[in-house]
Amino acid sequence: MGVRDLSCSLAMAEALAEEMERDPTVFIIGEDLTAHGGIFGQFRGLPERFPDRIIDTPISETSIVGAGIGAALTGMRPIIDMHFADFVTTAMDEIVNQMAKLRYMSGGQAKLPLVLWAPDGAGISAAAQHSQSVESWFIHTPGLKVVAPFEPADVKGLLKAAIRDDDPVIFFQHKRLFRWTGPVAEHHEYLVPLGKALIKRHGSDVTIITYSRMTYECLEAARILAQQGIQAEVIDLRTLKPFDMELIAESLRKTRRAVIAHEACLTGGFGAEIAARIGEELFEHLDAPVLRVAAKDVPIPFSPVLEKFVLPQAEDILNAVRTVMKYPSRAVTRACSITKTPRSKRRRSG
């Protein structure tokens, strides 16, 4: 078995086909799944192979998500197609009050092995109700796991892992990445474990932490920075909850500078949580404040010129990196001050 180049949508279709083949309890439910192999081609070939297990429903998001929950509670492994991530609002009670809580409220009796698949993100002039990045809502809801892959290989490996996981997984996939192509293993057991980040580019000067399509912009920025003598390490988180703080810490102990980039708007975004954790756990390792690059705090506008202005660009990442690089390294000064501090004071300040 080899490796070939696949788009994210074909990687997804392959993961689904393999898991549906492997496990007869896996099925897909949602709107407009079969007519064109999904609105993004993500279900290509599946309706022919599994006609009973890919279910087109009426436009009833509340019941679609509820159907996934009820089926998961009674022995199935559903994949709920949300059509657009923005539409989660029409099923928020099912996701937040039911899916996230039924296991806990039943004292661990209930098991909800389901995937809620939601294409998110902006950049296609779809305006404010078809362009959001809403991961923070679910990261902030105990009981849900949240995944947002970038590379086609991770789409396949994480989707397969999410289907096999016994807990509810919210699986975000950026709309502009469906045709994004990369090497994907043919192997049927190609799994990417939830909760593990990946270093996409090694560097020693600054760590850029990102996920989903912003990984592309960060890699672009890192390429330009390298030409200017700054070696950026780029981390693709892949899973947002639980997220890989260990890998972030390992990188920051080396680079001592952090920039976090996401497409979701700034205030209350996931970047704030990562920055807080870095502040709490790695303060003494930092040479500069942690900076965030994110969309502006407005709904996503329609006109391309407006949309581009609101969304974070590679240029914004470059600027943030240049800012954190201006701070002098504290590594040496601090080491000196510690040797000068008397033992008693050191203990008190510790």
Binding site: T25, F27, I29, D52, R53, I55, T57, P58, S60, T62, S63, V65, G66, A67, G68, I69, G70, A71, A72, L73, T74, G75, M76, P78, D93, E94, N97, Q98, L102, R103, Y104, M105, S106, G107, G108, Q109, A110, K111, P113, P142, G143, K145, D165, D166, D167, P242
Partner: protein
């Protein structure tokens, strides 16, 4: 369509119906006293007066059928076979409760009995039973899913979505509306358009039934027909039972929205247990003494359950961190 003559029901089954109704009544009254003694934290919703509706409905189910219940759910859960001792323990927030003290009165579930849980969100059960319906279809079993709800929940959008979805896919579901005339403080007469909830079935092209919710045999007959239909793969039905709750929306409810006379009148003329006891005596199935014994047995069982719950340990505080995920 197979006609189930309720009066052809065996005497043993009829006695069992009365026993369950009495057990529920005694359970609920005991919850009220424990709550009054401030031994139950939070708030509780009792269904005293609605026993016939619940017991008649569950009588039509097999052990492997699914139910989804409501915030007023103790009766459904007992009627589907849950053990009162773990229910009391849950109401008291004990470690030995069905949900280890994490759910409380409003969220009791027993997955071993296919009780998919009471639900704190009014109308929250509809989408879940749709999922059970799809699951049954995909697994090709002849199970049935039953969702209980009140007149209040019939006005949620989830009800419309679920009725349409169940009808479109002919899902094996029975919608049981226990119309107790009040959604919290709001009378159904002012909040439900169209005259009846079962009447809405016409819009979905499925059967709708209205039945006397204080007559356990009448409920059993109608629900059995709906359950049989679902089991045969002929799709969903809506059954509306006209019933009444004697207690407030929650314990402590001042009930300014109705008169004491109304409640008393219902109790005197339509109490489901009184009515059924009279029927069983008239049919010569039970004597007064035998009925007294049923009540005594229920009291004994409930007191044993309460003792178990009271003597059970509280959870360790750190247990609050368990049961979020299967694989944290």
């Amino acid at each position: 369509m197979a006609y189930i003559d309720p009066y052809a029901m065996s005497p043993e089954k009829k006695i069992a119906l009365l026993e369950t109704m009495v057990l529920i009544r005694v359970f609920e009254e005991r919850v009220a006293t424990l709550f009054a003694q401030q031994l139950i934290p939070g708030f509780v919703h009792l269904s005293i007066g609605q026993e016939a509706s619940t017991v008649g409905s569950c009588a039509a189910l097999r052990p492997d059928d699914y139910i989804v219940s409501t915030h007023r759910g103790h009766a459904h859960i007992l009627a589907k076979g849950a053990d009162p001792k773990y229910m009391f323990a849950e109401c008291l927030g004990k470690k030995t409760g069905y949900c280890k003290g994490k759910g409380g009165s409003m969220h009791i579930a027993d997955f071993s009995k296919n009780i998919l849980g009471a639900n704190g969100v009014v109308g929250g059960g509809f989408p879940i039973i749709i999922g059970a319906g799809f699951s049954i279809k995909l697994r090709k079993t002849d199970q049935v899913g039953m969702v209980f709800f009140g007149d209040g929940a019939s006005n949620r959008g989830t009800f419309h979505e679920a009725c349409n979805m169940a009808a479109v896919f002919k899902l094996p579901i029975v919608f049981v509306c226990e119309n107790n005339m009040y959604a919290s403080t709001s009378p159904a007469s002012k909040m439900v358009a169209g005259g009846s909830i079962a009447g809405r079935a016409h819009a979905y092209g499925i059967p709708g039934f209205i039945t006397d919710g204080s007559n356990v045999l009448a409920v059993a007959e109608v629900v059995q027909e709906a359950v049989d239909r679902a089991r045969r793969g002929e799709g969903p039905s809506i059954v509306e039972t006209e019933t009444y709750r004697y207690k407030g929306h929650f314990e402590g409810d001042k009930q300014k929205y109705r008169t004491q006379d109304e409640i008393q009148n219902y109790r005197m003329t339509r109490d489901p247990i009184d009515r059924f006891e009279r029927v069983l005596q008239e049919e010569g199935i039970l004597t007064k003494t035998a009925i007294k014994e049923i009540w005594a047995a229920a009291h004994t069982r409930i007191e044993e359950a309460v003792r178990f719950a009271m003597e059970s340990p509280l959870p360790e505080p750190e247990e609050a961190l368990d049961d979020v995920f299967v694989n944290p």
